[in-house]
Amino acid sequence: MTTPAPPLENLPNVADTLQITRAQRILRGLWTAPLSAKLGLLIILVYVFVALFAPWIAPFGESEIVGKKYLPWGEEYFLGTDNLGRDMLTRLVYGARNTVGIALVTTVYAFVLGGTLGIIAAVLGGWIDQLLSRMVDVLMAIPALIFAMLLLSIFGTSVLSLILIIGLLDATRIFRITRAVSLNVVVMDFVEAARLRGEKLAWITLREILPSISAPLAAEFGIRFCFVFLTISALSFLGLGIQPPTADWGSMVRDTADLITFEDYTPLIPAAAIALLTIGVNFVVDWFLHQTSGLKDEL
C-alpha cells in the first residue's frame, strides 16, 4: 500500500499534443504503418470487394456447367473448368463469398460466445469460473479437427451445423484468452469502484472491462479468423465442410486435385487464395499488436 510510484506530473505539454481526435490518430497510424501492414490491408480489402460484388465480377453462374471437364486456361474460361465443367474463375470468386463469409460468421459467433463467458468467468469468479473453465478444459482435451469431424458426422454437414460446431470449438480458445486478459482488468481499482457504486454485471462487463481488453481481443480475432478459415477449408477438402454445389476453396482443391499429376497448377490457385488471405490478415494483426503493445515507444 505504501509504494508510491513517481507519477508523470507537470507535463501539460504532453496533454496538449494529445488533443487530436482518435480518428486523426487512427489515420496517422495507418499512414505510418509498415509496408507489410499496408499490403495486408490491401489484400483484405480486395477480398472483401470480391466477396461483396461476386455476382457482378464472376463471368458465369456459381454452379453453372459451361463447358467440358478440365478445359485448359484460355480466353473464354480464364482459369479453365473443373471436374464437372464449371468455370474455375467464377467458382473462385463465389468461393471468396462463401468461404470467407462463413468463416467470418463463425468467428463472430465464437467471439460472442467465448468472449462473453470469459469476461463473466473473470468478473464473477468462484464456482461459476470453475464450472466454465473445467467445461472448456474438457472440450479442449479432444483434438479439435477430429472432434469437429465427429460432431459433423453426427449432426449432418449443413452450413448451420458447420458454423455452430466450429464456433463452439473455437470459442474455448477465445474463452481462455478473454478470461486471462479480463483478470488483469478486474483487479483494477476502477472496476472495484464500479462494483462499490452498485453497478450490475452488464455494466461492469460491457462498459468497464470490454473497452480495456478490446485491443488484444481484436488481434485475437484476426488470428482466430485465419484458423477458422483454415479449419473450414480443411473440412471441405475432406468432404465434411461446405457441401456442393456451393463454391468453396477447400472443396475446389479436392475437386481439381487430379490435375496436379498432369502438371496443371489449377488446384493450387484456390489453395493460394487461402494462403494469401491468411498472410494478409496476419500482417495486419502483427502491426496492430505491435501498435497496442506499446513497443512503438521504445526504439
Partner: protein
C-alpha cells in the same frame, strides 16, 4: 578499488553542459537541458526535484548511460579523467559495478529472486576479477555485520523474498559496495519503505559512504531525506538546474522562488471549524475482527472507532498494519468475522452486494493510484456523469449543468477537460477527477486511501487544500488512510494509530502528537524525517542510547 590514496578535495566526477533527449511522438525532445555539477571524492550530492525534473536521467547519465529511447546529445561526463560520453561500451562496462555502482528504488525488483543474496553480492566481484568467490563471501559477511544486519554470517544465504523490504534495500547498498566503488548513485532508495524502516536504511547508507570515503549522488523527491544525506543539494526543475549550494545554506536561505515554494509545502494546515453538535456518530465500526480466509489469522483484531460528521479521521500505520483492510470492511468488500459497521445509526449489511443503492451512495472512495481508479477508456464527462445518473437520476440539461459545477469545484476548466480521456491529464488532475466522481454521488463519508502518496509534494498539497475546502462546503466526513505523518498533521481532527491489525492508540490530533505517547506511536513519530540536517544523527543516538532499536529494521 582505486589504489591511489584519495584526497578529500580531488574532483571525481565532472558533468558539464549535459543535454539528454528522449524520443516520443516521432521526434526528439530535450529532457535535460544543460546541467553542470562536480563531485569530489567522499562527497554526497543530493539531486532533488519533482517527477519529470530529470533527476533519474541525470543519475544514470553519470554512468555514461542513457535509458532506452534516450540519448546524450551534448555535454561531457568526466569520471576520474575518463570521458564517459565517448567511451566505448567495453570501457564503461569495466567501470560499472567496479568503480560506479547504482542502487535502485525497488530492491525487490532489482534482485534476482532465484539467487541467494550473497551470490549476487559476489557476482560483480568475481566478474570484474577483483577477488575470488571465497574472498567475496568473507567481505559480504563483514559488510553485513557493519550495516547491522541480523545474523550477518547467515543472512546472505537467504533468497530475496526471505528478508524484509528494509533489509533487502540495505543488502543492496552492501552489494553496491562490493567492489569498493568510487561513486554510488542512489535513486530514491527509501521511497518504497515505511518510515521506521527508512531511518535505518538512511543511517546505513550515510554510515557506509562515510566509512569508505565514497562519493554519492543521492536522488530523491523528499526534502527532509536529502537534508539528512547530502553535503550539497542541487534543485532541478524541467531538466534545468534551479540552484545549488551547501545543504545548510540551501535549507536556511533558498534563493529561488521555486525552491522556496518546495520548502513551504509542509506548512499547510486545515481550516479549524467548530464541531457539529454531537448526535449519533456518522460511522461506528464496532469491535471488528476480520481475516481474508477462515483458516488464516485475522488481519484486523477488535477494531473499534467512530467517525463524526464533518470530521477527518486519519488512520495511520505502516504497510501491513490493516489500514486498507479496515476500508474494505467499511465498503463491504470484506465481511468481518465479528463485529459490525453502523452507519448513521443503521447497521450496514456486511457484503456490499446486499447494500441498497442509497447505502452505497453514502460512502465513496478515492484511491491511491488515480491512473487505475478511473477507466482509461471513458471520457471525463462519463466518469463523473455516471454517479449523477446512477444515484441521482440526473439526465440531460440538469446533468450537464451539474457536471460543469463539479468541474469548477475541483478547479478544472469544464470546457477544456470534460471531453478528454484520462490519459490526456496529469497525475494531479486525474486525482481531482476521482474526487469529483466521489462528490458527484453526494456522499456523507469519503474514504481516502493514500490519495496523495503517489503525487509530488506541491501537487499533493493542492489536493489536500481542495479536500479541505470541499469538506467545509459539503459537510463531508473523511476517513484518511495514510502512512505519511506530515499529511496527518495537516488535515486530521482525530488520529487512529494501527499496528499489525490492532489499534494501538486513538484520540484527538493534539493528544496523539503530544507526549506521553504509546511506545509505537513514539517510534513512528520520531522516525519522520525533519528538515533539520542534524535530525537523523540525533534520533539514532537517542535510540542507540536506549538500545531498544536492535530489531526495528526487521
Amino acid at each position: 578499488m582505486s589504489s591511489d590514496t584519495p584526497t578529500s578535495n580531488e574532483i571525481l566526477l565532472e558533468v558539464s553542459g549535459l543535454k539528454i533527449e528522449g524520443y516520443s511522438e516521432g521526434r526528439w525532445h530535450q529532457i535535460v537541458k544543460g546541467v553542470d555539477f562536480t563531485l569530489r571524492r567522499g562527497e554526497i550530492l543530493g539531486l532533488i526535484g519533482e517527477s519529470g525534473a530529470g533527476k533519474s536521467t541525470i543519475g544514470v547519465a553519470a554512468m555514461g548511460y542513457a535509458k532506452p529511447g534516450c540519448r546524450i546529445s551534448a555535454g561531457s561526463v568526466r569520471f576520474d579523467g575518463i570521458e564517459l560520453t565517448t567511451a566505448s561500451e567495453e570501457q564503461k562496462r569495466q567501470l560499472r559495478g567496479a568503480r560506479i555502482a547504482y542502487v535502485a528504488q525497488s530492491a525487490a525488483a532489482s534482485f534476482n529472486p532465484a539467487h541467494k543474496l550473497i551470490d549476487q553480492f559476489s557476482e560483480t566481484v568475481v566478474q570484474h576479477g577483483i577477488g575470488s568467490r571465497e574472498q567475496a563471501y568473507a567481505d559480504a559477511k563483514a559488510l553485513y555485520a557493519k550495516i547491522r544486519m541480523p545474523e550477518p554470517d547467515l543472512i546472505g544465504f537467504r533468497y530475496p523474498h526471505q528478508v524484509s523490504g528494509g533489509q533487502l534495500q540495505r543488502a543492496m547498498t552492501a552489494m553496491a559496495l562490493s567492489c569498493r566503488p568510487d561513486l554510488i548513485i542512489f535513486d530514491e532508495p527509501t521511497t518504497a519503505l515505511d518510515v521506521t524502516t527508512q531511518i535505518e536504511v538512511l543511517a546505513t547508507i550515510k554510515d557506509i559512504v562515510r566509512q569508505f570515503n565514497t562519493a554519492a549522488i543521492y536522488i530523491t523527491h523528499d526534502l527532509a531525506v536529502v537534508a539528512q544525506m547530502a553535503d550539497r543539494i542541487k534543485v532541478l526543475r524541467y531538466g534545468e538546474s534551479v540552484e545549488e549550494s551547501e545543504t545548510r545554506q540551501m535549507l536556511d536561505d533558498p534563493q529561488q522562488d521555486y525552491t522556496k515554494s518546495l520548502w513551504a509545502v509542509r506548512s499547510f494546515r486545515k481550516t479549524e471549524k467548530p464541531p457539529l453538535p454531537e448526535t449519533v456518530p456518522l460511522l461506528h465500526i464496532e469491535n471488528v475482527t476480520a481475516s481474508y480466509a477462515r483458516s488464516l489469522d485475522p488481519v484486523l483484531i477488535d477494531i473499534d472507532f467512530e467517525i463524526h460528521r464533518r470530521e477527518t479521521v486519519a488512520i495511520v500505520g505502516e504497510s501491513g498494519s490493516g489500514k486498507s483492510t479496515t476500508a474494505r470492511v467499511i465498503t463491504g468488500l470484506l465481511s468481518p468475522s465479528q463485529g459490525r459497521v453502523v452507519f448513521d445509526g443503521v447497521e450496514l449489511p456486511a457484503d456490499y452486494r446486499n447494500r441498497s443503492r442509497a447505502q452505497l451512495q453514502q460512502v465513496q472512495m478515492i484511491y491511491q493510484m488515480a491512473d487505475t481508479a478511473i477507466n482509461p477508456h471513458q471520457r471525463i464527462r462519463d466518469i463523473i456523469g455516471r454517479p449523477l445518473s446512477f444515484y441521482l437520476n440526473m439526465e440531460g440539461e440538469a446533468k450537464k449543468r451539474r457536471l460543469r459545477e463539479l468541474m469548477e469545484m475541483i478547479e478544472l476548466d469544464p470546457d477544456q477537460y470534460l471531453d478528454r480521456y484520462p490519459e490526456e491529464l496529469s497525475g494531479g488532475q486525474k486525482q481531482r477527477i476521482c474526487i469529483a466522481r466521489a462528490i458527484a454521488a453526494e456522499p456523507k463519508l469519503i474514504i481516502c486511501d493514500e490519495v496523495t502518496s503517489a503525487l509530488d509534494q506541491l501537487v499533493a498539497e493542492g489536493i489536500l487544500r481542495l479536500l479541505d475546502r470541499l469538506q467545509q462546503e459539503l459537510d463531508l466526513a473523511y476517513m484518511f488512510i495514510t502512512h505519511d505523518l506530515a499529511t496527518v498533521k495537516a488535515i486530521a481532527d482525530r488520529v487512529v494509530v494501527m499496528l499489525q491489525g490492532r489499534i494501538v492508540e486513538q484520540g484527538a490530533k493534539e493528544e496523539i502528537f503530544s507526549p506521553p505517547h504509546h511506545e509505537y506511536t513514539e517510534l513512528l513519530l520520531s522516525s519522520v524525517p525533519e528538515m533539520d540536517p542534524d535530525w537523523m544523527q540525533r534520533v539514532i543516538e537517542e535510540r542507540r542510547s536506549k538500545s531498544g532499536m536492535e530489531s526495528a529494521g526487521n
